[in-house]
């Protein structure tokens, strides 16, 4: 009996056994993804072709919800707001996080303390951050405008009470969490081989030249990862818009996710909300693909040869 079972086990190759073990390890995630994410996505795609509130029935409307979405001024406004937020926050966040990482990579005193200070905000998330920044951004009594006053700007922006300054306020809020990306850049910086800098020294390169010719190229894989993840996350901005401004004033902070939340849970247009969700998915997908496709021109991997 033992001999038979040993023989059947040995018929399976090591590779196959490793594969089975691997799939078993990822099974919880896979089950979660298939049933709770992919399943929900397929369902949401399906209901985007129906007019439904989930309660009084389903009426097939074909591409009606999609057509409505393209004709809805609020959708375009939300897309503008979300794009503005994303395309300012993502580069600003990369620059800020990289700058801090470069500073943290120097031989400065109490480095551990500084790292903790910069990283700490990124572990505080969601509603707490939104409420805190609500106070920071108060035009009259907030920390930010008080700080601006100290440098001579007496009449600071009205931030969340202004159509023009509300999104920049959200962007500042987003930058507050740059410490998470900073840590990745720091890891990337410490992984750059010193011989590259030594070679650059021999060639007579100065600090600035070394930064742009060695540091940045060697960090591009990390930058690529951060940009991709940040674009996807920024297009989903929601909490601060819901908690702090409810999309106002005058829809100045109406983001795409807030719009779909309103349409679904407040106006009971779940079919239409699903169409918006897929609209958001398509927009994010397009930009993610753009980043991926262009990456071969600007992302450099160590040991890679350009043939």
């Amino acid at each position: 009996m033992a001999v038979t079972s040993k023989a059947s086990a040995s018929r399976m190759s090591i590779q196959a056994r490793d594969n089975i073990a691997g799939f078993l390890f990822i099974a919880p995630w896979l089950i979660h993804f298939v049933f709770l994410i992919a399943g929900a996505m397929v369902f949401s795609m399906g209901i985007s072709f129906f007019k439904t509130d989930f309660l009084t029935g389903f009426e097939f409307v074909g591409f009606g919800n999609w057509r409505d979405m393209f004709q809805d001024e609020l959708f375009w406004k939300a897309l503008r707001v979300t794009s503005y937020y994303t395309f300012v926050l993502v580069p600003a966040s990369v620059i800020l996080a990289l700058t801090i990482a470069v500073l943290m990579n120097q031989k400065v005193k109490a480095l551990g303390v500084w790292r903790t200070v910069y990283y700490l905000p990124s572990v505080v998330q969601g509603v707490a951050v939104a409420v805190l920044w609500g106070y920071v951004l108060n035009p009259r009594f907030g920390l930010l405008n008080q700080g601006l006053e100290l440098i001579g700007i007496d009449d600071g922006p009205r931030w969340l009470f202004s159509e023009d300054w509300a999104v920049p306020g959200f962007i500042l809020m987003g930058l507050w969490g740059a410490g998470g990306a900073m840590l990745l850049y720091l890891a990337g910086l410490q992984g750059i081989p010193t011989h590259l800098y030594e070679a650059a020294d021999l060639d007579g390169a100065g600090s600035v030249r070394k930064f742009f010719a060695v540091t940045i190229p060697m960090l591009t894989p990390t930058i690529y990862f951060n940009v991709l993840i940040s674009i996807i996350a920024s297009f989903q901005v929601f909490t601060q818009a819901l908690i702090l401004t409810a999309g106002g004033p005058n829809n100045a902070t109406l983001t795409l996710v807030l719009l779909l939340y309103r349409e679904g849970f407040q106006n009971f247009q779940f079919g239409y909300a699903s169409a918006i969700a897929w609209g958001l998915f398509c927009v994010t997908f397009i930009f993610a693909i753009l980043v991926v496709r262009t990456s071969s021109t600007w992302v450099h991997y160590e040991g890679e040869t350009n043939n």
Binding site: A21, L55, T56, L74, P139, F141, F161, N250
Partner: protein, 450 residues
Amino acid sequence: MELTRRHFLKATGLVGAGLALAACAAPAPAGDEGDSGQAADDATVVRFMSRSGANIGGYEDTLGNDFREEFPNIQVQVEPAPEGWIDLLLTQMVAGTAPDIFQAWGNIFFNWTERDLILDVQPYVDGFMSVEDVADFNEFQWTGLEILGIRAGLPKYINLMTVTVNKDLFAELEVELPPEDGDWNHDDYAAIADQLTQAARAQGNEDFWGAWYPAWNWDRFWYRVDMFGGSVVDEKYGLVCQLDTPESQAGLQWSWDRMWADNTFAQPGQVENQWFHNVMNPGFVAMAESGTYPGNTDRALGENFSWDMRHVPVGPTGIRKVLGTSDAWSITKQSQVPDEAWEVLNYVAGPHFQRKVVVGVEGIIPVRKSLIASFIDDMRAQRPSLADVRLETIAEILDWGYAEDSFWFKNSNAASELLVPALEKVYIVGDVGPEYLIDIAAEITEAQQS
């Protein structure tokens, strides 16, 4: 058999996958305690969602003891409303797992009644409530809960708009308080706000304004329009937005002028736009026109300064009007135990529960006319500091009958989508005046037709 690292990892993976599968499976039915239906002792369980936060103990005690004594065959299971309860309750209703009773207010009732999610309790009212019992509710709440042809529930408590005043600041700035008897008008209101603001400026205080009024708020702006002889919509569930009429514009303009022309009322960006306690506590304003929550307000403000309440002033047309909310308890349409849920609903809107919990624990205004006199005494017994607060104002508002339920369009969601951003632009951003609402009114009317 030797346990290798590979064996261990495989076994762990299998156990993990098994657990994940078990977690994905349908949950085992909760015990009798968890569902509407039969309790262990054969009593019928009614699930009651409470939004009372820290006061939930008062609900559990009274419904678990006093109510149970009166209705031994019904067990009330009090469940705290979770964060984001509106979306969750809606999801539960779709899934068929919602509690039997919940508490909400106007626009939620409107939306959910449109989708047939709320039980019409009118047949129970007709069958089990006497004429005297019904007459003990305030007219504005009773009619306010008639939504789209059904009775959406029974009132929970009353919230009325009054002017909360900081008496210490009035004394410090040597300005006379508004009259207790409500004999003042909007010119007086503006003049007092101006006197307060100027007096503070004379003392070098730039962070002070006479008053605060949330005119940007859908629920709060309309009664001022009415007081100036205008109206938001032509009738209940009407189709025509009337914010473009000269009378409506005059009401809207008055509010705008106070904030953006003479700035004797604080602009939202100068203080904040959400909660009047946050505006009054730091001493930014001496008057705030907002809701009336005697216990809560005394706890929040009373320790910092001496406060009081006043009637809102009468409008130039002689009309005085404020929002009187119709917050209520409702029964979900899917309830499997509607008769028992009705008993609970009737009990919590009844005199005993209202006095013991709504007044005694929550410190808010009861829905029964017959309790108003004792409410004032009860509140002062609970909080002696309220002896200096003119709670009689509340009794007068109800007695004079100037509180009203909010306005309703036929398609209130479509109206709200246009009106809320417009109100924010006019009163929060302030870069345009109320004339901006003339075009918006036309758009709202057009949206009602489609």
